[in-house]
């Protein structure tokens, strides 16, 4: 069965499957090994027991890139982006702020402010569009450029100068390395509105709105928006991971579940194969790892098999998860005064001001969890009642900023209490509805999803870890100093979120190096 393997893919997150799909499509014999009992990684369904489940650790996101959907026939395999949702920033007085991707929907914001938001969003979507070529390609090398690197840089320059025009290009260059706090203060005045945008810029990262580079992270999120509106992942049957598995299957990819890879075997800086946790060894000259770069290189390959400084630089990749997940099984429908039933389908945000987010982040720097965390609530059962028993509901909650170091039992209980108390300020009867709950701290996420330090994006999306420096120079073009070892996960350019782009770019790069 495993004879004549061309490529071994380690980890069946969505990027691993995208990569495997493209490689199989190019005629390679691809075998995927997944440690868990289901594919999809953070997009795999999460079972809470007693009939309660969710569609994944990732609860909201943007549609997969259309070219990937088309290339892998994902529509035919059942892929259906979930229903588009709005963002609702909860207000103490019940006068909640509702925004769609392009405009403010609620009428509690002055018209000129709403227009400024519309303009800002339009401008930044345009920037994101012009940056698209860099996200959909391997990041260009600055030294020893090949033809495609030069072409890409040329295209970027052309896009920026002639696509945006001189004024906009200057503006983009001015803000690119800046922080979202300053940029939003320049354009808008409503605190709640600014906080809702700032949250999008820092979500999943150990960054506050005032951290440099948060404009870039926002632009990356807007890059996702170009594929379609924000939606909830709420139906396993039409999810990314289900469709990708079917697509991979139809393309001839062999997927091995419950098959944890213990080591990547190397000889003289060349890949020789893999060793599974059960002791079985398989030979292969090419291995693609969907696992985060630090785990791949330091644990699976091992620092001794790498050059010393490269191994050291890998160990210095920044990326500690700061978002905890909490699932609540609810016996009835939660009521948020001021929100109607259709609004409950949205992404509910507790982050009244940018200062609130910044303060919540500050605590995490010192290993503490703020008394006033930023909370993002979704109710997947409002879209798909099948995720809970009849009449019951699931609530999926992101809590930030929860430091990675935070782990003790008393702290966990306190965090759950704190979270329930905070949501209860907007949903007074919440506590009486809770049947059970589950908390996944960054440490738990690390364990369950094999993502080092529980970071969603496998590494902080800072400027110094982006583009030709993601995950680090020397491995930024998906190939690594270990000949035959490629990376294809969120730790690579262009980074996290459910885009499929790292997987796609990696496959393209791998195929190029073989030809």
């Amino acid at each position: 069965m495993t004879k004549g393997i061309d490529v071994i893919v380690i980890g069946c997150g969505h990027n691993g499957l995208v990569c495997a799909g493209y490689l199989a499509k190019a005629g390679l014999n691809v075998h995927c090994f997944e440690a868990n009992n289901s594919v999809g990684g953070m997009t795999a369904p999460y079972d809470l027991g007693d009939g309660y489940e969710t569609a994944g650790l990732a609860t909201v996101g943007y549609p997969l890139r259309s070219s990937i959907v088309r290339d892998l026939n994902l529509r035919e395999h059942g892929y259906q982006p979930g229903p588009a949702i709005d963002t609702i920033s909860l207000a103490d007085n019940g006068d909640h702020l509702v925004i769609s991707e392009k405009e403010v929907l609620s009428n509690n914001i002055p018209e000129d402010e709403a227009n400024r938001f519309k303009q800002l969003k339009a401008d930044y979507r345009e920037y994101a569009k012009k940056l698209e070529p860099i996200f959909c390609n391997k990041p260009p090398r600055l030294k020893n450029m090949d033809w495609s690197d030069k072409f890409l840089l040329g295209k970027l320059g052309w896009n920026a100068r002639f696509g945006l025009g001189r004024e906009s290009m200057y503006e983009l260059l001015r803000v690119a390395g800046s922080n979202i706090y300053d940029v939003l203060n320049d354009s808008l005045s409503n605190e709640q509105l600014k906080a809702a945008i700032a949250w999008d810029a820092v979500l999943g990262s150990a960054m506050g709105p005032r951290s440099p580079g948060t404009v870039m992270t926002w632009l990356q999120r807007l890059g996702g928006e170009l594929n379609g509106p924000l939606h909830q992942y709420c139906d396993v049957s039409t999810s990314v991971s289900t469709a990708l598995l079917k697509a991979a299957d139809s393309l001839g990819v062999t997927v091995h579940l419950n098959a944890e890879v213990k080591r990547i075997l190397t000889q003289d800086s060349k890949v020789a194969g893999i060793e599974l946790a059960n002791g079985e060894a398989l030979q292969a000259k090419t291995v693609v790892s969907n696992v985060d770069p630090r785990t791949t290189l330091l644990r699976l390959v091992g620092a001794p098999s790498l050059d010393a400084m490269f191994a050291h630089r890998v160990s210095q990749i920044r990326g500690q998860g700061v978002v905890a997940k909490m699932y609540f099984a609810l016996r009835g429908q939660p009521e948020f005064p001021g929100l109607n039933d259709s609004q409950l389908k949205g992404k509910l945000l507790i982050a009244p001001t940018m200062q609130y987010i910044e303060r919540a982040y500050n605590h995490s720097k010192y290993g503490e969890c703020s008394e006033a965390p930023v909370i993002e609530v979704t109710l997947p059962t409002t879209h798909n009642p099948g995720l809970a028993p009849p009449g019951a509901n699931m609530m999926a909650v992101n809590v930030a900023f929860v430091p990675y170091r935070f782990a003790g039992e008393p702290e966990r209980e306190a965090l759950v209490k704190k979270t329930i108390a905070k949501i209860s300020e907007f949903c007074p009867k919440l506590e009486s509805l809770i049947v059970k709950h589950r908390l996944l701290t960054p440490k738990d996420i690390e364990q369950r999803y094999h993502a080092v330090q529980g970071h969603w994006h496998h590494g902080e999306l800072t400027l110094h870890q982006s583009f030709m420096m993601r995950p680090l120079y020397g491995a930024a073009q998906y190939d690594t100093p270990v000949h035959g070892l490629f990376l294809c996960g969120a730790g690579c350019h262009p980074g996290g979120n459910v885009t499929g782009l790292p997987g796609y770019n990696a496959a393209k790069r791998l195929l190029k190096t073989r030809s």
Partner: protein, 397 residues
């Protein structure tokens, strides 16, 4: 590790032998070596030089960087660190090694001592703790600095064996080149290795700093039988060039001290190709060195004998008399024993070959007036000075 306290009150630290050296210093010509105050010349350069070549000289080499490497993965760690295959190294043996960065450029060279299965000492010219710790990641090893905890004397020269025996060390005759063993002088434990930086018969003595003065006195207690002279670093520079030994950081840039691309050097470029084993399994820089080996050699640090008696200065090397510039002199000496001008020079190769006709231009002064002349250079593959007695066991009586 010794905790340095109040050390900042002195610009330069004193070695355990400092008081003895000061008594012998007629010139008071001191210099800094690795933060220690050491003699450049003690009384007369010629006396110090000829002691090494025809008698016995003693050099205080305490400032050498020394690292203790222990733990079950020591050998794996060291073999991943250095370019040479140390699989055959055994307890009681010493070997010369060099290590490179990821790009295959030399960080430093040094001597590696093995004391037991998992106990080693690495001696180097430059501070290496950061690189050793970076390299230790993923290995079960412990790296400790012991630079300031071990005092060291180099006893070198044709009569060095006789001097040590007369001093009272018995069994030194059993030491073959690159052996190391423990000896007792009375109650004092001294570790002696048959190693050195002079190219002559010689030994290096490693001891607890508190015993330093006593060992010094014992060695200089035999001066009624043998000529034993303390030596400064100027004489050492002369004899190491005669022996063809290179000095990282002086004859070529070390990888961690360069800023500009292309300024650091690989083992191939400094004539250490014999120290690189590309087939021993993975080590830092292996891939880069394997790739470099596929390309024609760009340049090489060469040993040159320069014709004539005019001293070579810091000068360029030319292909042909008044020809095209093709290299530069890195260090020079007049060799009294060979009666020749010697130089180590970096020569730029063309298509992997050394230019055939090497010349240098020498500017020299005669009665304060500058003159210029051209001198032909002859590249040598062997050390300039390599006496037979260097490798004879036991050493000369």
């Amino acid at each position: 590790m010794r905790i340095l306290k109040d050390h900042f009150r002195q610009a330069l630290s004193r070695t355990p032998f400092h008081d003895r050296l000061r008594e012998r210093s007629a010139t008071e010509e001191w210099m800094s070596w690795n933060g220690y105050k050491v003699p450049r010349i003690l009384d007369k350069l010629s006396r110090e030089y000829f002691a090494v070549r025809s008698g016995c000289s003693v050099l205080d080499m305490t400032p050498m960087e020394k690292y203790q490497v222990t733990g079950p993965d020591s050998r794996l760690f060291l073999n991943r660190l250095v370019t040479r295959n140390i699989e055959k190294l055994r307890p009681g043996r010493v070997t010369y090694v060099a290590w490179c960065d990821d790009d295959g450029k030399i960080i430093d060279d040094g001597t590696l001592f093995q004391f037991s299965d998992d106990q080693y000492r690495l001696c180097s010219q430059h501070h290496q703790l950061d690189w050793l710790l970076i390299s230790a990641s993923g290995f079960d090893v412990d790296v400790q600095v012991e630079t300031h905890d071990v005092a060291a004397l180099a006893v070198q020269g044709p009569t060095s064996y006789a001097v040590l025996t007369a001093t009272g060390f018995s069994g030194v005759e059993k030491l073959k080149p690159f052996d190391v063993a423990d000896f007792l002088l009375g109650e004092i434990k001294v570790s002696i290795s048959r190693t050195g930086y002079t190219g002559d018969l010689g030994y290096e003595l490693w001891m607890d700093p508190k015993d330093g003065a006593e060992i010094w006195d014992a060695i200089f207690g035999v001066t009624h039988l043998y000529d034993v002279q303390p030596m400064g670093l100027t004489a050492l520079e002369m004899v190491r060039i005669e022996a063809g030994f290179i000095m990282p950081g002086f004859d070529f840039n070390t990888a961690e001290s360069t800023i500009r691309d292309g300024y650091s050097r690989s083992p191939y470029e400094v004539g250490l190709d014999w120290l690189v084993d590309l087939n021993k399994g993975h080590f830092t820089g292996q891939a880069a060195l394997a790739a470099e080996k596929q390309r024609p050699l760009k340049r090489k640090l060469e040993k040159l004998v320069v014709e004539g008696n005019k001293p070579v200065g810091e000068s360029f090397i030319y292909n042909g008399k008044k020809g095209k510039r093709c290299g530069e002199v890195k260090c020079t000496t007049w060799s009294p024993i060979l009666k020749a001008n010697l130089a180590l020079a970096e020569i730029e190769y063309t298509n992997g070959k050394r230019p055939s006709d090497l010349w240098t231009q020498i500017d020299y002064k005669r009665e304060l007036k500058w003159h210029t002349t051209w001198a032909k250079c002859h590249a040598q593959s062997k050390p300039f000075y390599q006496p037979k007695h260097r490798n004879e066991t036991p050493g000369l009586e």
